[in-house]
């Protein structure tokens, strides 16, 4: 399974970047590097917001306490199906 993009972490990092760009007197080269990183985070986050669809699973537990994910059938009206 591909590593899930962690939106929360991306947004935290983005905030850090904006803050250090705004607060610190950085060398232009460093500023540029941070800017690129920030823009890449924004692009990735936007992709996540638009394209990514999370899983909806139920967690089943067997007698030995082992967990397993199973599909869950819910008739939700989410306007997409």
């Amino acid at each position: 399974m591909a590593e899930k993009f962690r939106l929360g972490e991306a947004l935290n990092r983005l905030e850090e970047i904006v803050e250090s760009l705004e607060r610190e007197e950085l060398e232009l080269e460093d500023a540029l590097r941070l800017f690129d990183e920030g823009m890449e985070l924004i692009r990735a986050a936007e992709r996540e917001l638009i394209e990514s669809e999370g899983r909806i699973k139920q967690v089943l537990v067997d007698r030995r306490g082992r967990q397993r994910l199973a599909d869950v059938d819910l008739d939700t009206d989410d306007g997409e199906g």
């Binding site: 962690r6 232009l28 899983r55 939700t76 989410d78």
Partner: protein, 395 residues
């Protein structure tokens, strides 16, 4: 005892297999009495005041029901006592539902209570207040214990029934607001006697291992009776000690449950809980756009600062250069003077003269001269026209 009743008892087997003994043992008498009593009356409801309520270690409870004229020994066996929300205080008016019996070993007449209820929600209210006071005493209701729920969870855990409306409401809202979020449902019973144990199990499964970053625990709206599991001490403690922040969503606007009080956030309904748990996509996109603008602005500011720095450096460089030029000029002047000192005029100044041919070239040796040839002598203060008499290479 009339004969009918006697033989009725005999027929139930209370007297042993086939015949009525002539002499009775105490055990036989008590056994007969118990069977007669238990068999002769249906379940009845008795109103009275509780006195001397005591719960023994094995879980059985004993007390006396009183009115103004009489008292009745009561027992609640462990199984029945388990459903008792709280031990009734002295003098509480209750209804006891059960049957008459005899405790054979002591020959004691007693009322076996299946259910004990106070007027309205009396006992539940009492249990609630007692547990609340206990939890408060332990600091579990301290607002300082409440954790912030993460604002952008990658995974949301939901502990509720798969049959209820709650899970549908939550999934629908997550899909609309933050469709990238994973939702893990830990199915649990939310009403009935098994609900507390089931909820506690689900909470344990959801926290070990902790896959979700925030948990919603709850159910859709229900009657007060239906909320009991969320006032159960085991459930309340499991929520209070969850390593993952918990949003309670018990779906009852009026009555706050203890689960609500120990949860990190209380939501009035499962939908409200979902809205607290996940961010709104529309707002996030605006935030991202703003972040992009902030980045661009900061980069520009940084570039501006860089340019200003370059300009400052340029200024300093120019200043240095100017200083350098002045020094060089001085040096050039000195050198010019020193060069001038080596020039022919200086030689002449020192009293020498130069012989030049008709074209003004310096005649450096005798080979430039012929007897009778004309030349010019250059001295420091003028020139002399001259003619060579003889030419010899002897010095």
């Amino acid at each position: 005892m009339n004969d009918d009743l006697f033989f009725q008892a005999a027929n139930t087997g209370a007297l042993g297999r086939d015949r009525v003994p002539e002499v009775w043992s105490v055990s036989q008498v008590n056994g007969l009495a118990r069977r007669l009593l238990e068999g002769s009356l249906p379940l009845i409801r008795v109103a009275g005041e509780v006195s001397g309520f005591k719960r023994y270690a094995a879980g059985h409870c004993f007390f006396t029901l009183k009115d103004k004229k009489a008292q009745l020994s009561c027992v609640m066996w462990r199984e029945a006592a388990r459903s008792l929300p709280a031990e009734p205080p002295e003098g509480m008016a209750v209804h006891a539902f059960g049957y008459l019996s005899i405790y054979e070993r002591a020959g004691r007449f007693q009322f076996v209570v299946r259910e004990l209820s106070a007027k309205g929600e009396g006992l539940w209210r009492l249990a609630f207040e007692r547990l609340r006071a206990k939890l408060e005493g332990e600091g579990l209701l301290d607002p300082a214990r409440k954790r912030e729920v993460p604002s952008h969870p990658a995974c949301l855990g939901v502990i509720t029934s798969l049959e209820g409306a709650a899970i549908r409401d939550i999934v629908s809202i997550v899909r609309r607001r933050a469709p990238w979020t994973d939702v893990l449902v830990y199915p649990a019973r939310v009403q009935g006697d098994e609900a507390p144990g089931s909820l506690v199990d689900a909470l344990r499964h959801a926290t070990r291992p902790a896959r979700a970053e925030v948990l919603i625990v709850g159910r859709g709206g229900g009657s007060l009776e239906d909320l009991r599991a969320f006032n159960d001490e085991r459930v309340v403690r499991a929520i209070a000690t969850s390593p993952i922040p918990v949003i309670s969503a018990v779906g009852h606007e009026v009555d706050v449950t203890l689960a609500d009080l120990v949860a990190d956030v209380r939501a009035a309904t499962p939908s409200a809980a979902a809205e607290i748990a996940v961010p709104d996509r529309t707002r996030l996109r605006k935030d991202l756009a703003r972040a992009g603008e902030a980045l661009a602005a900061s980069l520009q500011a940084s570039a501006r600062r860089g340019r200003q720095r370059v300009e400052r450096l340029e200024d300093r460089l120019v200043e240095r250069l100017r200083g350098g030029i002045a020094r060089r000029r001085l040096m050039v002047e000195t050198l010019r003077r020193r060069l001038a000192a080596l020039g022919p005029m200086e030689v002449l100044q020192r009293g020498y003269s130069l012989a030049l041919d008709s074209e003004g070239k310096v005649l450096r040796g005798v080979s430039g001269f012929r007897p009778g040839s004309e030349f010019t002598l250059r001295l420091k203060d003028g020139r002399v026209r001259a003619r060579a008499e003889t030419v010899s290479d002897e010095a």
